[in-house]
């Protein structure tokens, strides 16, 4: 397995764990994919606040370069929209 793949696997576990540890997002059963340091979120949330919160929590995980939020929520942007995101040049350093 390449280094990038093992890093992405580790990041995915960290994001899933962080979302599970927060009582507000724990019950949402969100889907997470990570490729090249970019987190892709899916699943459903009951409100825009939780839609945004999940993105914020994922973005805070060390090493995440960007978050593509495709979670379904009332009033939130469509998961099928075209997404362009600001991206850090390099993965953040471990602190």
């Amino acid at each position: 397995m390449s280094e990038a793949h093992s890093t992405d696997d580790g990041l995915r576990s960290s994001v899933l764990q962080t979302l599970a540890e927060d009582t507000r997002t724990a019950a949402l059963d969100l889907r997470v994919g990570v490729l090249n340091g970019v987190v892709h979120l899916g699943g459903a949330a009951p409100s825009q606040e939780l839609w945004r919160l999940a993105e914020t929590i994922a973005a805070r995980v060390v090493g995440v370069r960007g978050v593509v939020n495709r979670i379904e929520a009332p009033g939130a942007p469509s998961p099928m929209r075209k997404v362009n995101i600001p991206m850090g040049d390099k993965p953040r350093e471990e602190r």
């Binding site: 490729l35 970019v38 892709h40 099928m80």
Partner: protein, 232 residues
């Protein structure tokens, strides 16, 4: 899977071009292990970087596969139409899904778990050959996509894409614009942005090669478009 469900799946699979030529026993083995799933327009089927747990056989509706570029721009990988397969590359490569797939309209798929697919491929040589054929077609498609994106102008890409997707009706050659075929979607598909696409369409329209209408793009000069499509 119920007997009725398996029969329905076997009937659908027998019509899939990617599975053409499979004998009844192989189709039946696939159908016995397949489960139907429905998605509405806009729903995520799988995400880039998710573990590849299933292979998908698309019965109805269109889906779009995209991938995030290193600079954060969404690039369309492919649009999959009914009676085709997707999710296969990751399943056979043993990686996570390389792109995100969303339903563009009401979609019905049949899913096969990755482990089951690998087991069936090992047991049914005809299926293994069909898989190799399908993956080879994918390789050829992505070679042409790389060539398109790196070597050809947006006008050339647009001309050849329109020709590839043209339909003929009552002596007219046209590309229907589905509900989801917005300018943004078309731009993503061509690896460009909406403004550049708009200019390219205008250029080809001014040259008399096509006419943009509300529900379709009419191709007025197929030969001229083919020449444009082959230019740099």
């Amino acid at each position: 899977m119920t007997t009725t469900g398996a029969s329905e799946a076997a009937l659908v699979f027998s019509k899939l071009p990617a599975l053409a030529g499979l004998d009844a026993a192989t189709l039946e083995a696939l159908a016995r292990n397949a489960a139907p799933r429905h998605y509405t327009a806009g729903q995520v089927i799988y995400l880039e970087g998710e573990p590849a747990t299933s292979l998908f056989l698309l019965e109805s509706g269109w889906v779009k596969a995209t991938r995030m570029s290193p600079d954060g721009r969404e690039q369309a990988l492919l649009f999959v139409k009914p009676m085709d397969i997707f999710g296969d590359i990751a399943v056979f490569a043993g990686t996570t899904y390389p792109g995100t797939v969303v339903a563009l309209e009401e979609v019905k798929v049949w899913t096969l778990e990755s482990a089951t697919v690998l087991d069936l491929v090992a047991r049914y040589p005809q299926l293994a050959l069909a898989v190799i054929r399908r993956l080879a077609q994918r390789v050829l498609y992505f070679i042409s996509l790389v060539e398109d994106l790196s070597l050809r102008s947006v006008e050339a890409r647009l001309a050849s894409t329109l020709l590839k997707n043209a339909e003929a009706k009552e002596g007219k050659l046209f590309v229907p614009r589905r509900e989801w075929t917005t300018f943004d979607e078309m731009a993503t598909r061509l690896g460009t942005v909406r403004d550049v696409l708009s200019r390219a369409l205008h250029t080809l329209e001014e040259e008399g090669l096509l006419r943009v209408e509300r529900h379709e793009i009419v191709l007025l000069d197929a030969e001229g478009l083919a020449k444009r499509g082959n230019s740099k």
